[in-house]
């Protein structure tokens, strides 16, 4: 149901793996997998990428999230490199996003958020990968 040429579609998928074999996931051209710097997240990402490759789901990339320091960034980069997962973006940890959420606000309501800036760069990377002009 996702093939309208001039429309950009962003799907927020369910956590877990079984959904990859059905429905919406089969029709996307890019799959982005979040990698937070702790083992269960990295391992989930690895298994997801493995399964996505089996199902031949378009381009597959990771996005590192909630990076608190350079050690976190290095941990995700090393893991991604070891499993051939290209990283399309690195989003730093920003506690203001959590505070905003508690206050009923969204990330875009947070001024000068480094996390939001990183997601904006990620959007540009995804546009370029899709062959679209930013």
């Amino acid at each position: 149901m996702l093939d309208e040429r001039d429309v950009t579609t962003v799907v927020d998928m369910e956590a877990g793996l079984e959904h990859l074999s059905r429905g919406t996931a089969r029709h996307v051209d890019s799959l982005l997998v979040t990698l937070e710097p702790y083992f269960k997240s990295l391992e989930t990402a690895r298994r997801t990428v493995e399964m996505a490759r089996e199902f031949e789901i378009g381009r597959i990339a990771g996005v590192a999230n909630k990076l608190r320091d350079s050690d976190d960034a290095a941990a995700v980069r090393d893991f991604a490199a070891a499993h051939d997962i290209p990283l399309a973006g690195e989003v730093p940890f920003d506690d203001e996003l959590r505070r905003a959420d508690l206050a009923g606000l969204t990330p875009l309501d947070v001024r000068d958020s480094p996390a939001v800036a990183a997601i904006d760069r990620l959007a540009s990377v995804m546009e370029r990968k899709a062959g679209l002009k930013s």
């Binding site: 149901m1 962003v10 799907v11 919406t24 996931a25 990402a45 969204t106 899709a130």
Partner: protein, 111 residues
């Protein structure tokens, strides 16, 4: 461009999906955001109030025509066009990202 975002629960899928959707819309793109999570809260990241977010209803199962052939292969086709679905069942959000709540439709016939 069709992007799906997945990952372990709590790792920021919805924050990234919703914020990226709004960024792309602010650049002038027409964006549809599909919440396919069984615990959906993309509406909030897209900027709907808590009240409006909880009032969003999922896509009805009737938009899919499901058939099983003699070999047991199940196919599902969308009855209206994607644009009709987006127009009829989508919800506008502050940056004009059109939100579609998948509900159980995506899960029909799974397993």
């Amino acid at each position: 461009m069709k992007i799906a975002i997945t990952g372990k629960g709590g790792t920021g899928k919805t924050t990234i999906a919703g914020t990226m959707a709004r960024m792309l819309a602010r650049r002038g793109r027409q964006v549809w955001a599909i919440d396919a999570d069984s615990n959906p809260n993309l509406a909030l990241t897209l900027g709907l109030s808590r009240d409006r977010a909880s009032a969003v209803t999922p896509l009805p199962a009737t938009i899919l025509d499901e058939r099983v052939d003699e070999r047991g292969v199940r196919t599902r086709t969308l009855v209206p066009s994607p644009r009709e679905v987006a127009d009829r069942y989508g919800v506008d959000t502050p940056d004009h990202v059109r939100l579609l709540l998948m509900g159980r439709v995506d899960h029909a016939g799974a397993g």
